[in-house]
Symmetry: C2
Amino acid sequence: MAAYKDLTKEQLLELKAELTAKYKEYQGMDLSLNMARGKPSVDQLNLSMGMMDVLSSDCDLTCDDGTDCRNYGVLDGIAEAKELLADMMEVAPANVIIYGNSSLNVMYDTISRSVTHGVMGSTPWCKLDKVKFLCPVPGYDRHFAITEYFGIEMINIPMTSEGPDMDLIEKLVAEDESIKGIWCVPKYSNPQGISYSDQTVRRMARLEPAAPDFRIYWDNAYCVHHLYDDRQDHLIEILAECKRAGNPDLVYKFASTSKISFPGSGIAAIATSLNNLEDIKKQLTHQTIGHDKVNQLRHVRYFGDIHGMVEHMRRHADILRPKFEMVEDTLERELGGLEIGSWTNPCGGYFISFDSLPGCAKKIVARCKKAGVVMTGAGATYPYGKDPQDSNIRIAPSYPPLNDLKLAAEIFALSVKLCSVEYYLENN
Amino acid sequence: MAAYKDLTKEQLLELKAELTAKYKEYQGMDLSLNMARGKPSVDQLNLSMGMMDVLSSDCDLTCDDGTDCRNYGVLDGIAEAKELLADMMEVAPANVIIYGNSSLNVMYDTISRSVTHGVMGSTPWCKLDKVKFLCPVPGYDRHFAITEYFGIEMINIPMTSEGPDMDLIEKLVAEDESIKGIWCVPKYSNPQGISYSDQTVRRMARLEPAAPDFRIYWDNAYCVHHLYDDRQDHLIEILAECKRAGNPDLVYKFASTSKISFPGSGIAAIATSLNNLEDIKKQLTHQTIGHDKVNQLRHVRYFGDIHGMVEHMRRHADILRPKFEMVEDTLERELGGLEIGSWTNPCGGYFISFDSLPGCAKKIVARCKKAGVVMTGAGATYPYGKDPQDSNIRIAPSYPPLNDLKLAAEIFALSVKLCSVEYYLENN
């Protein structure tokens, strides 16, 4: 099939009629499919059911150091959990605080603390006229929601195939003291599945921000979330790189087991320098006596160690991989050569990113919805929900069963085609 | 024995020698006992070990409404957990949000949200020159720590046997718009074990604060924590009373299962009006996707319903009651009639409050420590750690085994006597 841009008006009209007929067929099927959120599927949840068996009333719920996990105490997490998550995060246990069930919550609290109390003695952000964050785009909607909620101005930073545009970032942070942070999903980024290149990580660690309370918010959400055994992205570890660069306090690293064990019932963590940890603990000690140590112990007993976790993630990959491939194959088969969209083929993470012709994303998502396929709202991958090109759509293949996903991907591709035909009918 | 105040100097000196000899005997025992914190004992923790068995890999972790507790979602808690905690908190499930593992964390977040975003559209407290809280004293040190951390000025409100001094509270909140809240532990208060009288609750619900964003922080930490079957304090339910009084939005009520199941691995909740809930959820949706639903389900399956919880609390009481009685009997036997201190005899909660002669509390606690008995720091029960009389000491009988507790109570009483003898030697 020829590229749509080369079709005549008559060809486009004929094509439109054909596609519309097909679309109506799908509509007649009264479907209810969802590719909106990065939710693990039921098959994936079933992988972790053994978590429910590792602790029982016969078990001793005591840590190696004698801590009774059933009682109050231990602000920063049990030693065993620190070791497991430190291995997962590629840092030393001493650099880790184990939190509750959600890294999003940790990120929110980190921003909130900076707003009310500043960072290591800096002026609390609520006392400043203006606070800004850099937001690589497309990015994660919940990051943007937190910064927007706190009235922090967000500045779009274009993503490249190597990560965010470092030239721009270096320039902005050096000249503007009101820029206090940058949101990063450095590995298998949300939504593009891009992993930052070595050069990008090195330049990140060497930023020279005007603001001493600038921090990199390094959300390593997909640190062990590979799809393939033989194609795995590897990041330079950012804490170590910052230390080598003489900027040991520059980064907060976040992670959780949400997509490893159970979302909502996992454990989350922050890893950062000892100076930052001290600053954080000053606040944390007022917020809680300690997080759920029994659940920490449950995770440690279930996974055993990082090798156990890695093997567990291979089983997740076995379920996820065919889904990603199904979507990618469908897009290639249906849209290849038409020049009406491009998409990523990530080897990890939870998303495929699709870019349509300009001004088409909202229409495509609306069209999908009318045929029973819910996508992430167009615009959601940009701060304030405003995609300046109206072209980016996040595809989340994880949740639906493979057969549903096949249908959903076909309907998505069909919607792209229909909207693209209309685009050329209007714009040629 | 005569009251110390009536002893002659010679009698006091003789007594001092005798007490000192006894004190040295205890010191020689090289003890390490702790009556500092309201921690459940190992026996109490063992009561809840069945919690570890209710969920297994054979179980369906689905709620009645079809929610899979293993996946993301449900911001405000599963319906079953809302029902259980609503029954515990004596409110309707619709008025409840289930949180994570700690009500302290919920209270912290409530203050933090008010600081950054205000209350129902009010000016964020961080934008105000002055914010004040009323603090019934003696009270809970962790409450005071939160308000101090946020730079909120604390005003002492004396406790009476019916609760805090309502005349003073009514006057202050009516005339000072910078007063934004009051900390209350209304049932079996920390540390006195006092429950607010009907009249106190009624007057609380009818406060007419100058500040529209004034709220009562009603920490019902010991709502089902009775020591006796036949002597149980009962509070007028504050949400209902506020509604009847025409002040439906006046109160936030907090509770958790920390001292019911496992501290640190329980579930916490807030109960408040629908208006307040709406305001809270606007924030919560940015902070988390949802709390630990598997643990919510675990609690529901274990307790079954509120009756199951009440029966469970009777088993806690069977362990706690002899400890409270041991301390009270020791104090009565050792200190009765000496007029050197008074103490409470609560029928619930986790603490006994002791008031020494003025200026003696710090010395008594220090003396206990030198004989191997750790008490809550003197002053901790007051804002800023400053007990103006230096007389209040919180006794926490729950954690040590009964034999240890016996020794600890004796050493405490002995320390009181020694410090009191010295007081009269210095002051007569």
